[in-house]
């Protein structure tokens, strides 16, 4: 059919297009099936938690919250982000990032297990097969693109070509489109292989690549993934799966701890693992320091700083002392949870309620949306919008103190927002101006 790809290229074991070039006796649809099913579950969780994280930003509320305004129908599922349970975003993002890192060895092993297919000849047996191979470029390229941008972003290595949010969001949709097609085409085969594998293990133990002739022809992959020229084995299939699992376990063990103050020291290689910045009440994790954000100490002093609150009845200017004197102070135990997949345990914040500030400017009992602006001169989230349900929550504070002390400059002195279940970047630090009203 394709004389250009002669039998010689398919049979010469020196060429990767020949099945005999690939010699590991581990390869076979069964090994691939196990890894594939793990990824099927894992990547689905990654995709869903990713979408949920986008919803947590309340992108529909205000352009300042939305880094992908031209999303169109890809935002079909968006909903008003709730304020409870207060650890909701912490859990979602911890799962998203920690699971993503944990799945890296599985992804690498899966790609290793199917590499002979990349070089398989003829390049296409039919139109459907040709399109499937194009789709595989989106699948493999998409998977690696998502994992690489994610892994680089959590390490603050912004070398990718553009802003992280649109790249990771639209890249996820491109990848997921190919992933769903691949899953629908391959999952039935993978499940069948797994069933066979279990029967085999219950029966005569490990017996790879043999005794399946009675069912041959059902999945054409078997022919090319199982090498016709197996090298002497150095590890069993089960051993290889343990090895992959061990890699995942090691990554998990050195990463997961960055989501808890008590376990932080166990996260030996994670960006927010190892330890805390300093000690004392303000010695918990910081996303952006005051110096990094370009906060001028002259603007935050007792004489210079005034909180400007605007609403239905006009504008009020409050010094820090007047703020604490005029409004009752409340406490709330809430975490900082970052999109980068690290979080703190609950900190004990103390400040004035957002809904009391709303009442101060004419919204008594019916708090509206809130637009917050920081002293921060530049940067992505120096302005943020909060929805009415977030403003109304009694735990939502403009915090002045944390853990019994004044806020430190790095945690947002003179005042910062803290809202239950909101992503870290919406908890604006160094607040300068608050505008209440429907957005």
């Amino acid at each position: 059919m394709f004389p250009a790809y002669g039998r010689a290229m398919r049979d010469d074991p020196l060429l990767p297009s020949s099945p005999g070039f690939w010699r590991s006796p581990l390869r076979g649809t069964r090994f691939t099936s196990v890894l594939g099913l793990v990824l099927l579950v894992g990547i689905t969780v990654l995709f869903v938690t990713g979408l949920v994280s986008y919803a947590a930003y309340n992108p529909g509320l205000s352009p300042v919250n939305d880094k992908t305004p031209d999303k169109g129908i890809l935002g079909f599922y968006l909903f008003d982000w709730p304020t409870g349970p207060h650890w909701l975003y912490r859990l979602n993002q911890g799962v998203h990032v920690t699971l993503g890192i944990t799945l890296i060895p599985v992804l690498l092993a899966k790609l290793w297990s199917v590499i002979p297919r990349l070089f398989a000849l003829p390049p296409a047996r039919s139109l459907a097969h040709a399109l499937e191979r194009v789709s595989l470029l989106l699948l493999v390229g998409g998977a690696l693109f998502e994992f690489v941008t994610g892994v680089l972003n959590v390490q603050l290595d912004y070398v990718f070509p553009g802003s992280f949010y649109p790249l990771h969001f639209y890249g996820a949709w491109v990848f997921f489109a190919a992933f769903v097609a691949h899953a629908l085409l391959k999952t039935p085969i993978a499940l069948r292989n797994l069933r066979r594998l279990r029967q085999e293990d219950e029966g005569q133990g490990e017996d790879e690549g043999q005794g399946e002739d009675e069912e041959k022809g059902e999945d054409e992959e078997k022919d090319i993934l199982v090498t016709p020229r197996p090298a002497e084995p150095t590890v069993s299939r089960r051993g290889a799966l343990w090895f992959v699992g061990g890699g995942s376990l090691l990554l998990f063990a050195t990463t997961a701890g960055q989501n808890s103050d008590a376990l932080r020291r166990t996260a030996l290689l994670a960006p927010h693992g190892g330890g805390d910045p300093g000690s004392g009440p303000n010695g918990f994790q910081i996303n952006k320091t005051a110096a990094y954000a370009g906060i001028d100490a002259a603007e935050t002093g007792e004489d210079a700083w005034r909180l400007v609150v605007t609403g239905r009845t006009g504008t009020v200017r409050l010094s820090r002392a007047r703020l604490a004197a005029e409004l009752p102070l409340y406490s709330a135990a809430l975490p900082i949870a970052c999109v980068e997949g690290w979080s703190t345990s609950d900190q004990w914040w103390r400040g004035v309620r957002l809904r009391d500030l709303a009442a101060l400017v004419g919204y008594d009992g019916d708090p509206p949306d809130l637009f917050v602006e920081s002293l921060q001169p530049r940067g992505a989230f120096r302005k943020a919008a909060l929805r009415a349900n977030q403003v109304a929550d009694p735990r939502s504070l403009l915090a002045l103190y944390v853990n019994g002390e004044e806020l430190s400059p790095d945690h947002g002195y003179p005042a910062r927002i803290i809202v239950p279940a909101a992503p870290g970047v919406l908890n604006t630090k160094w607040v300068a101006r608050m505008t209440f009203g429907d957005l």
Binding site: S126, A128, F145, L250, L269, Q285, Y292
Partner: protein, 151 residues
């Protein structure tokens, strides 16, 4: 005489792939709205770099290891496993371990950026150390089990 013909293949598969491409296209246009060349390069480059560089490199390293140990074949996992695990950690956390984001990391997080290399080396040492210990135990057990005549 039959002319060679390029078959269409399963209609279900064609329909499924058409839907998949439509969605990928919808998102892809938005993905490429900024630096389209850079993004394409990263997207395709990631696949090529993995398939044609990373995978051949680690496969060749593994083959060299198996060859290099020659007759002591049972030693292979005791080198392969710690080396691969250590390499995996380096691959994932390269920007932090190599110190290439040191300045931004320090100024953004307020944390010391220089512990990552030391911790990675420490983990690597522990991995190889445990592996060596297991191998030594195994060799010792093998020697004990051997009949005295061999000594």
């Amino acid at each position: 005489m039959r002319r060679p013909r390029f078959p269409a293949g399963s209609p279900f598969q064609l329909l499924l792939l058409a839907c998949s491409f439509a969605l990928a296209g919808y998102a892809g246009v938005r993905l490429l709205a900024g630096d389209w060349w850079g993004v394409t390069l990263w997207f395709v480059g990631a696949a090529l770099l993995h398939d044609l560089v990373l995978l051949p490199l680690y496969a060749a390293a593994d083959r060299a290891l198996v060859r290099g140990l020659g007759a002591r074949r049972e030693w292979v996992p005791y080198v392969r496993v710690p080396a691969a695990l250590s390499g995996l950690l380096l691959l994932v956390w390269f920007p932090l371990i190599s110190g290439m984001v040191e300045r931004r990391y320090r100024s953004a997080t307020g944390l010391p950026p220089d512990g990552f290399l030391a911790r990675w080396l420490l983990i690597t040492a522990v991995l190889f150390g445990c592996s060596a210990l297991l191998l030594a135990l195994r060799l010792r057990r093998a020697t004990k089990r051997r009949p005295p005549a061999v000594h």
